[in-house]
């Protein structure tokens, strides 16, 4: 398997472990919808959280979270909205980013960016 996919899978596992530790109740991973895929879906603080996982090695150009651009965000919103409809969830939900960086020493570091659509959604 190509190395970056390897990294991806390992990152997702790490993210699930860390998020659970942080109090997220993971409900599912790799949920496939017609228009896209949701990496992790969890429940935290009374809302459903769609977590997009990004991994990267330190030394690469962009920080992992910066690789989620406007079109990707729009896709996540559409996919997430479709998911909520499909499970019949009418309550609040949000999108977080879990950014995993592999240090030179090989040790991974996880950073969570909460609620990335604040201020971006037009009322």
């Amino acid at each position: 398997m190509p190395r970056h996919l390897d990294l991806g899978a390992a990152g997702e596992d790490l993210a699930v472990r860390e998020l659970s530790r942080l109090g997220y109740r993971v409900m599912g991973t790799n949920i496939r919808m017609r228009m896209g895929e949701l990496d992790i879906v969890a429940e935290e603080g009374g809302e459903i959280v769609v977590v997009e996982v990004r991994t990267r090695t330190l030394g690469r150009m962009l920080p992992p979270e910066a690789t989620v651009g406007p079109s990707k965000i729009r896709k996540l919103v559409r996919t997430g909205t479709a998911y909520m409809d499909s499970i019949g969830w009418e309550g609040p939900w949000r999108i977080d980013i879990a950014a995993i960086t592999l240090g030179t020493d090989g040790k991974p570091a996880l950073e969570v960016f909460r609620d990335i659509t604040v201020g971006l959604i037009k009322p």
Binding site: G46, P92, W93, R94, D115, I121, P123
Partner: protein, 503 residues
């Protein structure tokens, strides 16, 4: 009616704003209907941050509706009611009684002072609702009687109060209005100038507008400022009007009953004087409402600025408009204008020679006329005292302001008695018709006035002015009829009666 209410200002009046909040699922977004977009962006941040400081995390789609939607509103005042509305909708707190909230939120949850607290208090009084205001506005609210009001330092305190776990401090009505503050300056601080002081006494008694003519250094500004302390103290209603204007502008309050004194420089912009600008704020003339408006160097004022003063001097109020609407502010003032006798300032001075050419003197003289000076009843000249005269005037300070004020008040009372039934408050307000019929001039006086008017070629307007001023002089003396004694003194203040170039 909704329980959560905020206020918005229209002129010096507060209007109620109903805050409705609906929270549904979906990605987090706060939308506010009824505020301009720029204000919404800022309000959102403040409200969310303030609620977060209490550990309240706002989630989901929040729709805030401010009714009525189409009237212009200012964002900052509405921070607090919006936060309360959202928290109420989330079930974090319960607002059981309809209440008025006003205040700006800091990101850490503190509640900041805003303008317009007094109009809001009056609205609360009229609606019979409790009012929650920032602690920084407590003092001005305490001057409004008959309301239930609380001061809020931090949003936490407010929520605890609403939950019933801790009470906010109520705002007690304050009795601190000082009826007779220390005069500044006192008439006895001014050396000599007996004629000008007498003129000011007459002006105060009858609410007559004044023109002071004198060379630089003659003391016109000091004399103008002394007028506010010989005017009768503000009545309760007048005090409320003054408070409302000051509160609308966001100025600190003077709790005394001293009349306002505002001096405007001739370079001032029309907006700063008359009001207007982005938020349609009141101008200097409204800040001088029920007090004295001083126009120094009157001849240097731009014509458009003077023109815009005409309506308020006539009506006692001023309309300020923009595309978004118009607002009327109170502007009932006593006008004091001051100018030099000529361009260089020293025409007729005992020591300094006048450097003006004869045509410059004529030109300057022509500036001393117009729609504003038409409303002046007293034309007073103020000599510039030589050093010898100043020394002579030592120890002859004359009466202090309190003594003069007593006479002024009595004279005013006589005017209220006489003109009250007709709907006027003072001699200066009297229109021509009422003047001719009711003023009470005896036969000898009538003859005297006729003769004098002919001698000095008084216009019809000039005659009316002399009669009004004579009526005030008679009131100061406690005389019922106007006789030659009063008319003669009034003549000394007639227009053009004292200028050397009138020869």
């Amino acid at each position: 009616m909704n329980a959560v209410l905020g206020v918005t200002l229209q002129g010096i009046q507060a209007l109620r704003v109903e805050v409705e909040v609906e929270i549904t699922g979906g990605l987090f977004v706060i939308s506010v209907v009824g505020l301009p977009d720029a204000s919404v962006r800022e309000a959102r941040e403040r409200v969310r941050a303030a609620l977060r400081s209490l550990g309240i995390s706002v989630k989901g789609r929040v729709a805030v509706n401010l009714a009525p939607a189409d009237s212009p509103k200012e964002g900052a005042l509405l921070d607090l009611p919006i936060a309360v509305g959202i928290a109420h909708s989330m079930g974090e707190i319960h607002v059981t009684r309809p209440s008025l909230f006003m205040g700006e939120l800091a990101l850490d949850g503190r509640v900041r002072r805003v303008r317009g607290a007094v109009p809001a208090a009056i609205l609360a009084r009229d609606m019979g609702l409790p009012l929650f205001v920032p602690a920084g506005n407590a003092r001005e609210v305490s001057l409004v009687k008959g309301i239930e009001a609380y001061k809020v330092e931090h949003i936490r305190g407010l929520f605890e109060h609403l939950r019933g776990s801790a009470m906010l401090q109520a705002i007690e009505p304050s009795e601190e209005s000082v009826e007779y503050p220390e005069p500044d300056p006192d008439l006895s601080d001014i050396k000599g100038q007996a004629a000008a002081k007498r003129a000011l006494e007459i002006a105060a008694a009858g609410h007559h507008n004044v023109l002071l003519t004198g060379s630089p250094g003659s003391g016109k500004t000091l004399l103008a400022r002394s007028l506010k302390d010989i005017l009768p103290p503000l009545s309760d209603d007048e005090m409320m009007e003054v408070l409302m204007v000051r509160s609308t502008v966001g100025l600190s309050l003077d709790s005394s009953r001293r009349r306002p004194f505002r001096a405007i420089h001739h370079t001032a912009s029309t907006i700063s004087v008359c009001g207007g600008g982005t938020n349609l704020r009141p101008g200097e003339i409204s800040l001088a409402h029920r007090g004295v408006l001083f126009l120094d160097e009157f001849t240097e004022f731009r014509r458009d600025l003077l023109e815009s003063l005409r309506q308020p001097l006539e009506d006692g109020c001023i309309s300020v408009s923009r595309a978004s609407g118009s607002v009327t502010y109170p502007a009932r003032v006593l006008l004091v204008a001051a100018c030099n006798p000529c361009q260089c300032g020293y025409l007729g001075d005992p020591v300094e020679p006048c450097r003006c050419s004869p045509s410059a003197v004529d030109r300057y003289r022509r500036k001393m006329s117009g729609p504003i000076l038409d409303r002046v009843d007293l034309y007073v000249t103020v000599p510039r005292l030589t050093p010898e005269e100043l020394v002579q005037a030592e120890g002859q300070e004359g009466e202090g302001s309190p003594e003069v004020l007593k006479r002024v008040i009595r004279a005013r009372e006589r005017q209220w008695e006489r003109w009250g039934p007709l709907g006027f408050q003072c001699n200066a307000e009297l229109p021509e018709k009422a003047l001719k019929k009711q003023v009470g001039i005896n036969a000898e006086g009538r003859r005297f006035l006729k003769e004098m008017a002919g001698r000095v070629r008084l216009s019809g307007r000039g005659i009316s002015r002399v009669m009004k001023v004579a009526r005030t002089i008679a009131d100061l003396a406690g005389d019922v009829d106007i006789s030659t004694v009063h008319l003669a003194e009034a003549l000394a203040f007639r227009e053009g009666g004292d200028l050397p170039w009138n020869r």
